[in-house]
Amino acid sequence: MPKFRFTHFAAVAAAAMVTGLALGMSPAGAKEKVTVGFIGPLSGGTSSNGIGGRNSADLAVRLRNADPNAKYEYELLVQDDECKPNIGVQAATKFGANKDMIAAATHYCSAVAISTVDVYHKFGLPIIVWGAVLPDITYGNNYKEIHRVNGTMINQNETAAKFMTGLGYQTWAIIHDTTDYGKGHNKYFSENLVKNGGKILGTFGVTSDQQDFFAELTKIKSLNPDVLYFGGLTPIGVRIRAQMERLGLKAQFQGTSGIVSDTFIEGAGPLAEGVLAFREGAPTETLPGGKFFLEQYAKQGYSDPPEAYGAFAFTAMNLILDTIEAVGPDRKKVRNALNNVTGSNAADSITGKVDFDDHGQNTIAVITKYVSQDGKWTVWENSEYASGMRKLKGM
């Protein structure tokens, strides 16, 4: 269990830090030692993403420490937030109270990230979110400490609205679940769609465990939209897609990141063909520096894969290290320098350019368009739908 060993080590290291004990392994070189941190879900249901992210952040540190030109020797402290807000706040407080901690890459889970931003602000600890997608993490506050390299559901729906109107679709009906997730998607997609000239004929909120959608779908059929937009997760997405067919509803089905999963395709079977969806991030191998990242990752022999957001954790950590190299190990200086990563100062990374807006949100966030083709989520540009060999509904 390498995961366990690592956490254990981190805990020991943190304890040593707090009590001011040296671990007796200070580097032989003359380089000053600098501490950086990583927080993610290392146990529980989303731990595969957390461990992938942890390894990726660790990779960034190892590569930097192997670089003879680096000014500092970096040490990575790791905390497990278990994808639970209360545990996340404890971890954030630990980092914040640790005077040696200069900056950290934190959180995959939105619920954790949103509850820790106050802590980082209070302690003045600059952080970069590497996975959580809830817009309010960056946009719900004016904290200078908070940044994010991955996109949000705002970016996702911006791309979706532009892309769909670009294809020539004009009218939409919307079904969304009434959780924060579904409501958020509805809000941002609707805003962007109207901006791009699309027209919304009707919006239907549904509960996230509803079984029968025939009443809503019949209403939608009478509205006769070009596209049915669905803001929600796979289980009811499967039901809606199947029930559209029984009613003879011919609209194009468009989903969100919530349905980009093999489960959707298994559940909907042949009806998944031609369904469109959008997701933050991209398949790692298609990222600008994806190949380099995967090669280096493989060389280190980690026992778990980087998963979808590993590249973002690497980018977040690398950006922290670059900034410390440039301005020195000081929280305030690092914070200000990170806020300056914008416009002509935009940073290059393996995930593409990083350009923070005044909320610390990366505005050049990668969003990938997917279409389900032959039982696989295929990147739109590589699909037969893009090349014109197959046609979307109503095209």
């Binding site: 919006t203 239907f204 025939f214 499967v238 039901r239 559940g267």
Partner: protein, 358 residues
């Protein structure tokens, strides 16, 4: 045996028959099915005017509502069956339905893998295996969980079935391959579709609707026209008298559980075919709605269960039609109306003729 018919019969079919004739009982206006239908259609016609709905669309809503109503009524009839015979509320009914659907799905996958390609053959295999498996499970549940608790407070039986239901859906979630995910249910019926304006009619929907109605009629006939049904009604009414007349109480209970559970499996497969999807959690809400339907119609009365099922479906459909931009509240609306009806008629729309609990 003749004496039985004249006695006060818990299942109360004969009495119900008398009650539902509208106008015969001025003290209880609008309680029969006929009255319910006229209410429903007048409401729907009103909305039709308000939204200038075309005929095709209207027929589509009616079809959706009927299909949903059959599903709810089948579940409610199941609840009624258990309650009518044994005075127990079997809360595992919804989850037995779900397990039945999964057994049907697994059977379909099994027979397809050994080369049975005829969809009717696959469907027959799925139905037979699922119904028999659930019937056996029902017998086991009755024998080892329900009968031993015969003299315990009814709350204990209610709790034990509630726990059984939880165990069942957790078991499917954990042990069925990728059981936490929605599973695609194959279309085994012809899917030819005919469109009339906004109304799309698929042959399989018609078959499902017809089969569901037939099943309800079948249960009704079984209870009212067969010797077995007579024995069930006798047990329901007075266990001791029934025993003195030579009716084997335990056997009747086991048979009732077998029939009720097989009905659940049948409904589960119908549900899977209609929605093209089954999932481990499908029994939860269906159980609650089926139970509410049985209660609001008058628990222990098969007509009440049917009326309750269709009423609930009509309310949910109406919730979306009448409040298209507040459709998330359709369940709040439907359950709210049910609560009001229950406050108005605590023993249900068609109450038992003689209620011992009063």
């Amino acid at each position: 045996m003749d004496g039985l018919g004249e006695q006060r019969i818990r299942l109360g079919y004969a009495q119900a028959e008398r009650h539902v004739r509208p106008g015969t009982d001025p003290g209880r206006p609008g309680t029969g099915p006929a009255a319910r239908w006229s209410t429903a259609s007048s409401v729907e016609f009103r909305t039709r005017k308000a939204h200038s709905m075309d005929v095709g669309l209207f027929v589509q809503y009616v079809m959706n509502g009927l299909m949903l109503g059959v599903m709810y009524a089948l579940v409610a009839v199941g609840f009624t069956l258990f309650f009518g015979v044994m005075n127990i509320i079997n809360f595992s009914h919804g989850d037995v339905l779900m397990v039945g659907a999964f057994v049907g799905l697994a059977t379909y996958l099994g027979v397809s893998s050994i080369g049975v390609e005829n969809p009717w053959g696959q469907l027959a295999a799925a139905m037979i295996v699922a119904a028999s498996a659930m019937a056996l499970m029902g017998v086991a549940v009755a024998k080892y969980l329900v009968l031993p608790l015969k003299n315990a407070p009814p709350l204990n039986t209610l709790l034990i079935t509630l726990m059984l239901g939880t165990a069942l859906h957790e078991a499917v979630r954990l042990f069925y391959p990728r059981g936490a995910n929605p599973q695609r249910f194959p279309s085994l019926l012809p899917t030819d579709a005919y469109s009339f304006g906004n109304f799309t009619l698929r042959i399989d929907s018609v078959i499902l609707l017809g089969t569901g109605l037939l099943a309800i009629v079948g249960i009704h006939l079984l209870i009212n026209r067969t010797k077995l049904g007579l024995a069930m009604r006798a047990v329901a009414q007075d266990e001791d008298t029934a025993k003195t007349m030579g009716i084997d109480f335990d056997r009747i209970v086991l048979i009732t559980f077998a029939i009720g559970s097989a009905l659940a499996a049948f409904t589960g497969i119908l549900h899977g075919l209609y929605y093209s999807e089954v999932n481990f959690a499908m029994g939860l809400l269906l159980g609650v709605i089926g139970f509410s339907s049985a209660i609001v119609g008058g628990l222990g009365n098969i007509y009440g269960a049917i009326i309750g099922g269709f009423l609930f479906a009509a309310l949910q459909t109406l919730g979306v039609v009448a409040m298209p931009f507040a459709s998330a509240y359709k369940d709040v609306f439907a359950f709210g109306v049910i609560i009001l009806i229950m406050a108005w008629r605590p023993t249900g729309l068609i109450s038992e003729k003689i209620s011992e609990r009063v």
